[in-house]
């Protein structure tokens, strides 16, 4: 079972989904998930991530506008879930309450009429792989959240599906277990070499799990790329704000600097200057961890702010600044153990290459 399966590439071409009440859940979408890839669909609730997953699963069907879904060379657009050879793990685990752990795991083989000896062999393999041997005969309601989650995974992969679909499989668990299990799941998926689509609203989970992340917003893919690409080069304000914390500066380009509405100035990189015109209004984004603070006594420096609050978070101190711009605050993560009392004037410094120009 741990041998690599024949994994397939998933291709969505011009897929649209409108619900019966007229809501456009997914705008025309093209998406390719490479064989053996783990793609994470990330976004807030109602962004269309679960709809996309259910369309790939065959639990929902796309609007009939000529769009298609392919698993490898096979067109599955019209096939219901039973015929698609997908494994699915649900947020609620959806374990059958009237069956014990073993019965749950082998259900997919049993309904296919597989030989009992083969079923027993595979079951033993699964129980060992997921460390469930002790619980084989237990009722599922006697298991902890983490154990249920493992049963759900075992049940989904025992049939050797072409594609594994996971719908927020960790969201019912506590933070510590979550962090451990996402590592385990990623290792498992990679060892199986299965193409997987993973839905979550948790950006940290998305970054830890996915080979690539597709950030969805209002029924369309806002950006797709590796965790690094999405974090460091967000294509728009939505992606920037959804993944991690982001500061935004708005001003006019004067003398190679961005002049804010307080008159304070930010030096721009040559790339940023090349793509902008003088006197143009420009928005730049900057991550809190890219800013360094220096305590100063007056506001004569190019870019200063006043500390309004600071919170110690263990590995860093999150400092909130006022009066950098007329509206809004600037958030800075400081990794040195320096106290910043409220009212303290600080100068901000950063490398201009860390500034991210905001488009759209």
């Amino acid at each position: 079972m741990t041998d690599k399966t024949n994994s397939v590439e998933i291709t969505l071409k011009n897929i649209t989904k409108t619900f019966s009440d007229g809501t456009l859940a997914l705008k025309p979408t093209d998406l390719t998930i490479k064989a053996e890839e783990i793609l994470v669909l990330l976004g807030p609730s109602g962004c269309g991530k679960t709809t996309t997953l259910r369309l790939i699963a065959g639990l929902e069907f796309a609007d009939s506008n000529g769009g298609s879904i392919n698993f490898g060379d096979k067109n599955v657009t019209e096939l219901p879930i039973e015929k698609r050879k997908v494994g699915m793990v649900f947020q609620s685990y959806a374990l059958f309450p009237n069956m014990n752990v073993s019965e749950n795991i082998v259900y997919g083989l049993k309904v296919r009429g597989i030989d009992t000896a083969v079923i027993d062999h595979k079951l033993a393999e699964m129980l060992k792989m997921f460390d469930l041997e002790k619980y084989a005969k237990r009722g599922v309601h006697q298991l902890s959240g983490g154990q249920r989650q493992r049963v759900a995974l075992a049940r989904a992969i025992i049939t050797e599906p072409d594609v594994l679909l996971l719908d927020e499989p960790l969201s019912a668990l506590d933070a510590l277990l979550k962090a451990r299990l996402r590592g385990d799941i990623r290792t498992l998926l990679k060892s199986l070499g299965i193409t997987a689509v993973y839905v979550t609203h948790d950006q940290e989970e998305a970054m830890a799990m996915g080979d690539r992340i597709a950030v969805l917003d209002h029924g369309e893919i806002a950006q797709i790329g590796s965790a690094k690409e999405i974090y460091l080069q967000p294509k728009n304000a939505f992606v920037a704000d959804f993944i991690g914390q982001m500061n935004r500066f708005e001003g006019n380009v004067i003398d190679a600097q961005l002049v804010l509405n307080t008159g304070k100035k930010i030096p721009l990189s040559s790339e940023a200057l090349a793509s902008s015109n003088a006197n143009e209004t420009l928005s730049m984004m900057l991550r809190p961890e890219d800013i360094r603070l220096t305590k100063v006594t007056d506001e004569q420096h190019a870019l200063t702010g006043i500390v309004s609050s600071s919170v110690f978070l263990g590995d860093r101190t999150r400092v909130t600044l006022e009066k950098v711009q007329k509206e809004g605050k600037v958030i800075v993560d400081c990794f040195q153990r320096i106290e910043y009392p409220s009212g303290q004037i600080v100068a901000l410094s950063f490398e201009s290459k860390h500034l991210i120009p905001l488009q759209g």
């Binding site: 879930i81 039973e82 699915m88 959806a94 309450p97 009237n98 259900y107 989904a156 049939t159």
Partner: protein
């Protein structure tokens, strides 16, 4: 101490009522059935064809009514829970209508449908020139019982089906199970406690239904009718008392088993 006294005082009406209307009559019935019947009433029930037939046909009819009600009502209940359509609320209201009617009225309905002047008779007359009548037979009784049993099960099934996690069905489908396999392996086990409890109520109601039987059972002996006849016409109090106790016992055992089974599957469902 004072609280305990107040509690005792509060529970007194319940004790008096159960003594007056349950325990004493039962003891009295038992006494009558044994003493006045010279102890052979129970033996007679088992040996005399009239009584035995009455007992067996009542149990048989009730079992069959329960079974058919469960099948029809499960399908109807699942359908009504899963699909939204125009007029659904009216249909549900109509389905629960029979709960409001006394047995005599339901008996009357059956006569209107399958009696001498009934709908079936008219159709038969028009088609083949003879009246189709079955109101005053087992079939008529069956129809009447079915009519008041179905709503009891439908409403219970709907309640249980609404709680059925749709993800369970989707999980079954993702594992390649057919709709029939999912129905047997997932849906029915989830509905099981509700089916058992509403089924046992159907059975108990059918066993003891008198109004409908009184209207229709001119040619058939079901247990409540036999009790009535023995008591009022034959003044055979001993036999009436013995039959009453047997009827009560069968129903009570059935409800008891159902309660245990239902509770067991609720526990299993976690």
């Amino acid at each position: 101490m004072k609280n305990t006294r107040i509690s005792l005082f509060l529970v007194l009406p319940a004790i008096i009522i159960s003594f007056a209307f349950f325990l004493l009559p039962i003891v009295q019935l038992f006494k009558v059935s044994v003493v006045e019947g010279n102890g052979i009433s129970y033996w007679n029930i088992l040996t005399q064809p009239m009584y035995l037939k009455s007992l067996l046909s009542t149990v048989g009819l009730s079992t069959f009514v329960t079974f058919v009600s469960l099948v029809i009502a499960t399908i109807t209940g699942l359908f009504l829970t899963r699909y939204e359509f125009w007029g659904k609320q009216v249909l549900i209201a109509m389905l629960s209508f029979p709960l409001a009617f006394p047995g005599v009225v339901i008996g009357f309905f059956v006569i209107m449908l399958a009696g001498r002047q009934g709908l079936f008779a008219q159709i038969g007359l028009a088609l083949v020139g003879e009246r189709w009548m079955f109101a005053y037979s087992m079939a008529g009784l069956f129809l009447g019982y079915l009519y008041f049993s179905i709503p009891r099960v439908v409403l219970t099934v709907m309640g249980a089906a609404e709680k059925l996690d749709q993800n369970l069905i989707e999980a079954g489908r993702s594992l390649g199970a057919s709709r029939w396999q999912i129905f047997c392996d997932v849906t029915v086990p989830t509905l099981r406690p509700g089916l058992i409890s509403s089924g046992s109520i159907c059975f108990a109601t059918s066993m003891g239904a008198f109004g409908t039987a009184f209207t229709l059972a001119t040619n058939i002996n079901v247990l409540p009718m036999t009790i009535y006849t023995e008591f009022t016409l034959n003044a055979n109090f001993a036999m009436a008392a013995a039959l009453s106790l047997i009827l009560g016992l069968v129903t009570w055992v059935c409800l008891g088993i159902a309660k245990r089974q239902g509770a067991a599957s609720v526990g299993m469902g976690g």
